[in-house]
Subunit: 167 residues, 2 copies
Amino acid sequence: METEQEACGLHEDELSTWLALVGVLIKLPAALDEQLQRDAGMNHFEYLAMLALYRNEGHRKRMSELAVLTNGSLSRLSQVISRLEKRGWVRRTPDPTDGRCTLAVLTDAGLAKLLDTLPGNTEAIRRLVFAPLKKVQARQLREISHRIIRAIDPSIPDRKLGIGSDC
Amino acid sequence: METEQEACGLHEDELSTWLALVGVLIKLPAALDEQLQRDAGMNHFEYLAMLALYRNEGHRKRMSELAVLTNGSLSRLSQVISRLEKRGWVRRTPDPTDGRCTLAVLTDAGLAKLLDTLPGNTEAIRRLVFAPLKKVQARQLREISHRIIRAIDPSIPDRKLGIGSDC
DNA sequence: GAACTTTGCTTGACGATTTAAGTGACCGGG
DNA sequence: CCCGGTCACTTAAATCGTCAAGCAAAGTTC
């Protein structure tokens, strides 16, 4: 007999795992975006871009490098930086060493805003991800995430995952 | 001394776990959307909506219930169903038992399209999620996902996670 | 050093999503 | 009944993201 699970092409245990993961993929970004939007008037991508600038010497970074760090397209980043510029949190400046490149720089106001926003976001991450997990589960989650990311993009070495890579 | 990690407000091991998870949250939906867009000309939300219809008796479901199953807003679903209607894969019909409600129904063409699309999507999920994980890691992932989802929305009982709940 | 290619970024048109307002259908008390 | 309130859904406007040109600086070839 064909079970419901087979109707999806996944076995029973795979299916329930997959549905749970889909829930996380949809709800966790939404929850974090909502927290940032409510408390700081920015979305998660804008926050990640500012955080990545903050974590670089001179609080600046080339657009193209910043796009990689934030997992976004260059065109998306360009428009986001324009938005952040309008709010006075970031400014653009030409790269003195290569006229083609543009550097995004965190302003003083942007730094203040980021430092103001950080604790709330950190608290949300702790509350939604780490608090409900046992220590060992957090370690398992890291290993699992690494494996999935490598399956999606085998070219990424372990150490080059995200904003932390430059630190 | 203040480490880079503390600058983010997360401890070193939390930070690397978080960055890896962010990578999955961004890249996995993008990879699945890309596969569905390329092979079937639809996005993941449209696919989930059709799959949820398929997995119900009569291949039909009220809009509001379908919205919950697909983790989406009612307005989003309404527009997605309109798109699917234009392609002839779904049709709307009034609920005979309550004039306020609308039932979305999978058409024969929609059923055929879904059955045509299923194997490719299943293969992608297997390749990107289950193949790189050991069996025990897949079980860990399910438990971890459940815990995170409950932290986000404590009102959801374990058995009510996603499309599978009705089967 | 002129012509071509490549690189880095920006822009505009388009599609998708959210938000808020609007439209009927039901429901419950007078 | 019928009138306010709620419910299910739709629609319009604004926002956000992607894709495809476009442009200017840097590099490459002859």
